[in-house]
């Protein structure tokens, strides 16, 4: 009898539970392609656990439009459960008081995220002076990659460059034959992406840290920085006239079609090769840009804001736990071209480039070359980052001399801090 009553009670409870079940509004700008497919994995997992997922995609300009939506919601006291925010911006939101009381910290502690993540990644996910988790990482992208068309390189007797001088020599050779050496879309963020890889290669790890982590004005205006700008000017001459404003994936297509030889881009470019059915070392090469065991990372993550209502809090907890799930981290990153943020995911099913990314990351971490990408907002306050980016893109798209560029850089950064 007792059992029956319990059974009836349980049955009557189940529908009401699913009714008031976990709920989450997720703001992101992954609207199509591999990223969206990968996100579907998460969405399905979430629904399978009885949750109600409200999708909130706003594409465009790497999240520019999404930022308007997000800030409007926060100001209206109606923050979404989770939003695609990364780097120091996470802690900046915490300082504005819209993240505490850190709803997902309990989940993170219970699941032992400290052991599942490297210290460096974990530090990006914590608020309240590193005491509580407030964001969940989904991947690690590497920025400093060269992608190249295998046929073009092989037929011209060119190997993947191991120094910037080698790259310049190869580019000169290609250009003489009428091949565009560098496929590039000159948009501010793409210019900054190339710039930081060049800075890492020419200046070295310590230089990069001083310039882009500490925002040290002397380093930003020094003679090494001039050399970086000199190389940028050279790279500009290796691009074609259609470059300004071109989308990055259009540039990737130029490499695929053999119109251009190289592209410098983060490993989301791999998704384009994969979508076209191309394979590493068969159709294209991937190699890190020349540097001393440097590795520029970008960790995509979701911040969890303060929300009202227990269904929403439950939704956040469930979402955080699923995002860190082994299965999601694997499937998502195979689609996305990145590697898992979680350390204990097997790399067996990943391609060659991802495996290289993983092993390079470990080497870089040991040798002090594991550095946050400034172009992708993993270091520096957004205002400072933007000020640097303005100068970089202005220099790249004009006849500005390297001397003027470093002067401008110094004054722009001073004004932004």
């Amino acid at each position: 009898m007792k059992k029956i009553i319990i059974a009836i009670l349980a049955m009557s409870l189940v529908p009401s539970l699913s009714y008031a079940g976990p709920k989450a509004e997720v703001l992101h700008w992954w609207t199509s392609g591999g990223e969206a497919k990968a996100l579907k994995v998460l969405k399905d997992d979430f629904a399978a656990k009885g949750g109600e997922w409200l999708d909130m995609p706003v594409a465009g300009g790497g999240g520019d439009a999404a930022m308007q939506t997000l800030k409007a919601r926060i100001v209206a006291n109606d923050a979404p459960a989770a939003a695609q925010i990364k780097g120091p911006t996470i802690q900046a939101y915490d300082r504005e008081g819209v993240v505490a009381p850190y709803n997902i910290d309990a989940v993170a502690k219970a699941e032992g995220w400290d052991k599942l993540l490297s210290k460096q990644v974990a530090s990006h996910m914590k608020c309240d002076d590193g005491k509580a988790y407030c964001a969940a990482p989904v991947n690690i992208h590497r920025i400093d990659w060269f992608w190249a068309n295998k046929k073009v390189l092989d037929s011209n007797g060119i190997k993947m460059p191991t120094s910037w001088a080698e790259f310049n020599a190869a580019a000169d050779k290609l250009q003489a034959k009428g091949i565009i050496p560098l496929a590039h879309g000159s948009q501010p963020w793409q210019d900054a992406t190339v710039f930081e890889a060049v800075a890492l290669g020419i200046g070295g790890n310590d230089f990069y840290r001083k310039a882009f982590v500490d925002a040290d004005v002397a380093t930003l205006s020094g003679s090494t920085m001039k050399k970086v700008f000199d190389q940028m000017r050279k790279l500009k001459s290796y691009t074609d006239e259609g470059s300004p404003g071109r989308d990055w994936n259009v540039a990737t297509a130029m490499v695929m079609e053999g119109k251009a030889a190289f592209q410098l881009m983060g490993d989301w470019a791999k998704g384009e090769f994969a979508a076209a059915g191309l394979k590493p070392d068969v159709d294209y090469y991937c190699a890190s840009t020349p540097s001393d065991n440097g590795y520029l990372y970008n960790v995509d993550s979701f911040i969890f804001y303060k929300v009202k209502g227990s269904d929403k809090v439950e939704g956040q907890k469930l979402l955080a736990s699923l995002m860190m799930g082994k299965n999601f981290q694997k499937v998502f990153n195979i689609y996305k071209g990145s590697i898992p943020a979680r350390l204990d995911v097997s790399m067996d099913d990943f391609d060659k480039c991802a495996k290289k990314s993983n092993s390079d990351l470990n080497t870089a971490a040991k040798k002090g070359g594991l550095l946050p990408s400034f172009a992708h907002g993993m270091t520096l306050e957004l205002g400072v980052k933007g000020a640097i980016q303005d100068v970089v893109t202005e220099h790249f798209n004009s006849n500005m001399s390297s001397d003027d560029a470093v002067k401008k850089l110094a004054s722009a950064v001073k004004a932004a801090i």
Binding site: Q68, I74, R95, E96, P244, G245, S398, A412
Partner: protein
């Protein structure tokens, strides 16, 4: 009861006026206050001073944006009004296909910026559009690469902007011409005036209110020319085609410089007020006097 009757017009305006006071002027005051704070990621309310204005005017990018706004607004106004008047006068010559042509001139106004931007970006792109077309059909040295040339890209925004708005201005002027009494033209013709001087000396001066509507609409579009810039050049190459509305949006939402963005918004308000308000006021006064 009498009071109610007497004040009914005011009462009817009151809700709209209240809405206006809060949503336009209240928000302007809010923005002014925020421009005096250190607001970064989200608005903060601690008073800081006028430092944001000094920061703003020390930024190269802001100077580029302001300069571009002047270039754009002046060219946009002149070209739209000029093309609008020319087309309106030509269409007013009892043309057979008038309805058809008018629709063609007018339709761009119906399209949103995303649509406009997508199409024009393609047409103006040197490796895909007009330049490629001209080279394909045999003009191998033809170049048209303004879109990707710093310093010239602002003019491509003018081209697309004029494309979108000049038809509308044509419509306003055509409407103006239509309401001019034919007798006036006939009389002038009898007096021996030629067609050009009839238009420049008699008809166009009669259309002051049309100019006012056209200028209000065009200045409004120019100041808000955010969409077109984003869709066409996104401010590039580099920052060479930046505009104040783009600058403000970038600072407020992408750079976490809400204080600075508010300062730039106030500068925009001040510019508009300085130019437009005296003009509007004098026009209204003139209207009143004529009554």
């Amino acid at each position: 009861m009498f009071w109610l009757k007497r004040n009914l017009p005011r009462l009817v305006i009151a809700p709209s006026f209240g809405v206006l006071a809060w949503f336009v002027y209240g928000f302007i005051l809010w923005t002014i206050y925020i421009s005096f704070t250190k607001s970064k990621l989200l608005p903060q309310y601690k008073f800081w001073g006028i430092d944001q204005y000094f920061r703003l005017w020390s930024m190269d990018r802001w100077h580029v944006a302001v300069e571009n706004l002047f270039i754009f607004t002046i060219l946009f106004l002149i070209l739209c009004i000029f093309i609008g008047i020319v087309l309106a006068i030509l269409l007013d010559q009892k043309i057979r296909a008038e309805g058809f042509l008018r629709t063609i001139y007018l339709y761009p106004m119906a399209l949103s910026f995303i649509v406009t931007g997508t199409a024009w970006k393609w047409i103006l792109n040197p490796t895909l559009g007009i330049e490629k077309f001209a080279r394909d059909i045999g003009f191998e040295t033809f170049t048209f690469d303004w879109l990707t040339t710093p310093g010239m890209s602002i003019y491509t925004i003018v081209i697309a902007g004029v494309w979108q708005s000049s038809g509308f201005i044509m419509a306003i002027f055509l409407a103006g011409l239509r309401s001019v009494d034919d007798e006036i033209i006939k009389a002038a013709k009898i007096d021996g005036a030629n067609l050009v001087s009839i238009y420049t000396k008699i008809i166009l001066p009669m259309m002051r209110p049309v100019f006012m509507s056209a200028i209000v609409i065009l200045v409004h579009l120019a100041i808000k020319s955010y969409d077109l810039v984003i869709a066409l050049t996104a401010g590039g190459p580099g920052i060479s085609s930046d505009m104040p509305a783009v600058f403000m949006t970038q600072m407020a939402f992408h750079r976490s410089e809400i204080g600075l963005a508010s300062a730039s918004a106030i500068m925009m308000f001040l510019t508009v007020s300085a130019i437009v308000v005296p003009y509007l006021y004098s026009e209204l006064k003139r209207e009143d006097e004529r009554k």
